[in-house]
Subunit: 435 residues, 4 copies
């Protein structure tokens, strides 16, 4: 596992980590107004205000109500109001109604967060039991997932706003020196490899979601993986060579979607005659010319676009097993993740060997999201966290430029419907090696 | 015409009226938070924030830009951003995108209002020309329409919110003394009557929308009109006698809608076992027991429900011509309109003769909304105000409890699609009289 | 009334008429295969096979079951299977399921028709009572309506078939001599006129649907009506001058539909570079060049297109009352109706005065379809025939080239949703006359 | 591979097989009328008439046009008219339009079949080249797939028809003696197994679709497979214990579908108070009481229902690799496939060991349908046959009671969207074995 997880073996250390994660959330929303926090601009997204409440709800529901004696919930209605999708806990509002949550007011949500924070502090005054600690860690990983969602949802909200405001000040200057190095290949030989994580009931240091378990063997044929991600310039060639209009390049489902949705480019690309490339791209810094972003990894692709690009290029996507096997051998590199503040993918470095494994963009894999052999969801309502989504979705690996660095690892499995584009999702090429 | 229009023949008087209407809007939104102003809970509604901007846009576009020399628009983007549906003025954002307008921030909208108010004040320092004055009056009538929409849209927003907050403090006490008097009939004889308004190009006192013109003759057969509106108690009998499940009572289009939408009661009615009647009703004061509202006029009916009720009761709806003819003869009564602060229909008084002609609820008529013989829309973009909606809509008459009192008159024609329920819409019974 | 209705005062005469109408239906379907009779190509249409059965069902249900002692229904399931929309008679299959009615086989449907025909013959061996006779006449008018629907539905079915087969042999030769005469105007003065029909309970000669009753007075302002229908050549000028892309010409609802449906021409028009005009039109004789049809009345327009054309031309549509008043004064002309076999509109004649009042195309009026003052639907299930459709539809007048000649009259009210185009629907221009 | 493929190494043998398959298709449609062949009752289905034409089109396009010198296509329009989804060959009609193909008439389709049959006969007068022979075999396998679709599509068509006719005479008598034996388990140990087929370019005997290639290694953990399929009686217990209303049993996507579609039982099950079980089931023999079918394998399940049932029962579905590995070891048993004429699943036999591997119902697996490592689609348009559907679908194995016996094998991969129910699809239970 390439990225270290901070030690949380003691209650104090755990509380330190708790405060860091919670504050990171507040930091992330600090540029936003109460009105910004209300916007829900597509079915995939939620208002940021809801994310602030729901992440607190998670600690209240799965930690405080169970492990803090005498805990008094902040408000009885919040129990159902901010439930996302845990049917085992009872009824909840339809997702699309979240945009109507002008009440409770934002101050109440902030008070809710403070209330929960205080209670967690109380709980961690003394060594919490293993299960409580594990739940807190789970809550922190959960909150980090919502940090990423806050970034992607507000990006979509600002793109939907006809004025296209920027989340953060003027765009960074064009990184002129950075030219993505030529795409090269790293070879991996055939063999049985171990994939996933053995559940470790007594450890909170080595966190993993249930969908990463159990560790099991997979046989891999020999394969090659590209050293870096596909860039905007490379993807533009696919567009310019009519890639969106050649059915033989597309899965049937993808072809149907690009026809019905009239997709001719990634999400957030807009024709712009004022640029050399003919395109501008909406970023969290507002619209920027593709001229300045051509060496950055292409993102906001659906699986279908990633797959079609790979076919057009004469290659394919990696399976999630190939990816994980390669990632465990990858040397650590300075990853562009949420903490860099770039908030957008950045060009690969002039290095040899695998890079951009973590950060920049989630990499679509060729693997459908299903349970590993022997997979058991967590008991109780938490079993709904991951397991019930194991149909009609594809696995993505590696995190993005808005994923917190401490949240990602080689075994991490993200998953979305193959038509999803509002995440920072891109691709790395793979190919079969001669057997 | 039962209600007087305040004199606005001088610039000073016009400015006085301008300030009163504009302040009434601000008064109306004063209980609401910036977050409340963002909610758009159904396709018919807009965020209140948008209403605040659009009403100012109307003055800027149709008055200041044309009649105030040297006027500088508040912001160039606002010209298209807050256009509602005037295609002649160019492109505009789709209606559903209004919920994404977190920017410009609310303070900018308030500044926009102040900017426009100051410019109107400048314009009215000196006598404005007739056309400018007429446009200002049109803008005020327009703003009053949006005052009503603010009330209805925020009611729907708060109903959609799973917490069902109230717009205004605790509900008024049960009006125990008020029992609706028995429904009686007023007779009208046959004959040619005059309907509508003659356009009066040089007057600003007698405002009318273009769809009320020209005055023309209509032949009426003898008819009878009920003295008061239909009450909740009366409508409950229709529900209890299975009215929503008897196809013979319904127009085919209405039957199809109540099946597909599973309507079994007016909008805002909810089963409530804690009440004697078995129902509670959501109001701008929150949910209230139907027990306390049974004598109030039923509202939030679609045309189809009003029509089905009338058929079930053995009567019919009035045509808009019958209604207008009757209204011109109706003695003025104390109408329950926006200024009373009731914000909900109130029971009829123990009086004889026609009452509740104005206020309480808009009365669905049996008339489709089409142009009068010889109808000409206003010239230019303002011609889109009313005329282009003359298909597939029904006329409503008389204003509601959230219509400003100075906005309504006997000739006023409101119009909505027959399935619309989010307005305060109810009915008065009519019947043929023997010829 | 311009067209005479054949005398049916005696049972024998009535049976003669019955046989003629029923045979006309069979004649109409004679060019069609059992497979053709199965096609249902749009929600408005039904399979022709269904029409054959349903028209027989009407006689069985409303005549034979009530008036022929000892009548044995052909098959108990047919009672509900071939009910169209009479809720009072119980449940019925959804309309869209009619395309699954491969069973009962066509032979059974023919046997059903023969069974009903035999029973009607028995019933009319002796003088039938007045009500039975009236019901038979109603059934014949009903069957004539379905004759028109058979023609329009099979036209749509053949257009939907990618091979675009023709219903009838090679297209008629280009009527070179026929050039539509210049459009002129006929003036009508203001006044109270009588509209509609007095129900005549004891007569079967002067049939009228309930929606044509009662006869009542309407005041008309002075108006002018065009002498002939609008031609394809005239409509092409509207297209060529960008009529489909100028929002100011359209009702808002119409504009929305032409955008979402991408309408740029009437239904059945197809771009065709092989023609001078650039268009071909699908007819019951297959595709024909617009070059050969330019002087024929334009048809397959929605109300919105008819209305927009009239506005573009500087005129308007007539109200249904203006039309009816004019039609009663129109001299009889040789109308192009179903019996001519043209099966498509033909050019106006070189005559002065009103023509094409009957036949060629249904004329959209400016009138919404509502009940006349004092309107009472027929009692019982037959009350569902017309009355329940009185919302969100517009009135059309005058019949078309596929309307049987004996079916139409000055007071006849056809009605469709304003977006409907699969009928032979076009327009005649009208305008206000100086008062 | 458990089932032998008839030898087709010589042209004569190949022609014999060709005739047998083509005649089997004609035999299958012999109980149907021309009208029956027109019905298309759901988006998944096609009219049987279309199947008759399309299977001929396949031979014409991929065999005759390429390999028979001087071949003259039957009709130039058929080239595009009966193309299903091969974009490489040009435009084709939308699938939903197939129900409008009343022309060409059925006789023309039969003539088309005869024309193609004659040309194949000519081609096979002499030894055809290897590729031609392989294409003919592919065409026969293709036609066998459409034989299954004819059976499933006509079943749905007859179920949609409100009269619910039977495809074949009276239902078979209740198989009283047949009681499904107790469900037992067969153990399989862990290890690397070989899955799939090595492409064998020079052989036509060992046919496999491209999606079954290449043969590759998969590591299996130890597992157990149920000896027989799940029965209706067992599934009824799941229904009776509220299985359709317990969200914790369902994948989120499945839960959403059963809510929106109101599914409470498999497709074709209908409440029937006249039976002991309370249910009847529609079969190709018409409706039959579940009382008589309780020991037969449950079918017409979606993947979601199969998955939920397995979870409820405490087990899981097998992966397609577990299934294939087990199937290769299964002793051949008398399979209930198309040739038995049962046309419905039949009870398991009183035998020990794996049975019902082939026939009865397609078995949903836990495996998403993706390409095997190293998978290459066929070159050219035939590459669209299988490969482009590799997203959002699940693999089914083993064939059904309407699959031709010579069409199935251990490596065969069927695939459908997880919500699909109109196929004869059911399940076999699996579980992890202790490691």
């Amino acid at each position: 596992m390439a990225l270290p997880t901070p030690s949380t073996t003691t209650a104090a250390a755990l509380y330190t980590r708790y405060r860091a994660v919670r504050q990171a959330t507040m930091q992330l929303v600090s540029p936003l107004s109460p009105e910004d926090l209300m916007v829900q601009s597509c079915p995939e997204a939620s208002p940021v205000k809801w994310h602030l409440a729901h992440t607190s709800w998670f600690f209240e529901t799965f930690v405080l109500s169970e492990f803090l004696a005498g805990y008094r919930p902040f408000h009885p209605d919040f129990r159902w109001l901010f439930n996302s999708y845990y049917n085992s806990l009872g009824e909840m509002p339809e997702k699309k109604l979240r945009s109507s949550f002008s009440r409770p007011p934002l101050e109440a949500i902030f008070a809710y967060r403070a209330h929960v924070d205080g209670a967690i502090e109380s709980l961690l005054q003394h060594p919490a039991g293993d299960e409580a600690a594990r739940r807190i860690v789970l809550g922190l990983e959960h909150e980090q997932q919502h940090q990423e969602l806050i970034a992607t949802d507000i990006k979509h909200a600002f793109f939907t706003n006809p004025l296209h405001p920027a989340y953060r000040g003027p765009a960074f200057a064009k990184p002129e020196a950075l030219i993505a190095p030529p795409l090269e290949w790293v070879d991996f030989s055939a063999g049985l490899v171990e994939i996933g994580v053995t559940p470790s009931p007594n450890s909170i240091d080595a966190f993993a979601f249930d969908n990463e378990t159990p560790r099991h063997r997979v046989y891999l044929e020999p394969f090659r993986l590209a050293t870096r991600l596909v860039t905007c310039a490379e993807y533009l060639a696919f567009i310019d060579q009519n890639g969106y209009n050649r059915p033989e390049l597309w899965l049937a489902e993808g072809w149907s979607i690009i026809r019905s949705e009239s997709w001719q480019a990634p999400l957030y690309w807009r024709r712009d005659e004022a640029t050399n490339s003919g395109w501008s791209i909406f970023t969290l810094h507002g619209f920027q010319s593709l001229d300045d972003l051509s060496e950055t990894p292409v993102c906001h692709l659906s699986f279908f676009e990633a797959d079609a690009y790979a076919r057009w290029a004469g290659f394919r996507l990696a399976s999630e097993f190939e990816w994980e096997h390669a990632a465990t051998t990858a040397p650590p590199t300075k990853a562009n993740m949420l903490e860099t503040g770039a908030l957008h993918p950045t060009p690969a470095h002039a290095l040899s060997g695998l890079q951009q494994i973590y950060g920049d963009v989630w990499e679509w894999t060729a693997s459908a999201y299903t349970g590993y052999p022997g997979y058991k969801p967590l008991p109780g309502a938490l079993g709904e966290y991951n397991g019930k989504f194991m149909s009609s979705q594809m696995v993505l690996r590696g995190g993005s430029c808005v994923t917190p660095a401490t949240h990602i690892r080689a075994t991490y499995r993200n998953f979305f419907s193959p038509a999803t584009r509002w995440q920072f999702s891109g691709l790395r090429l793979a190919q079969d090696a001669p057997r």
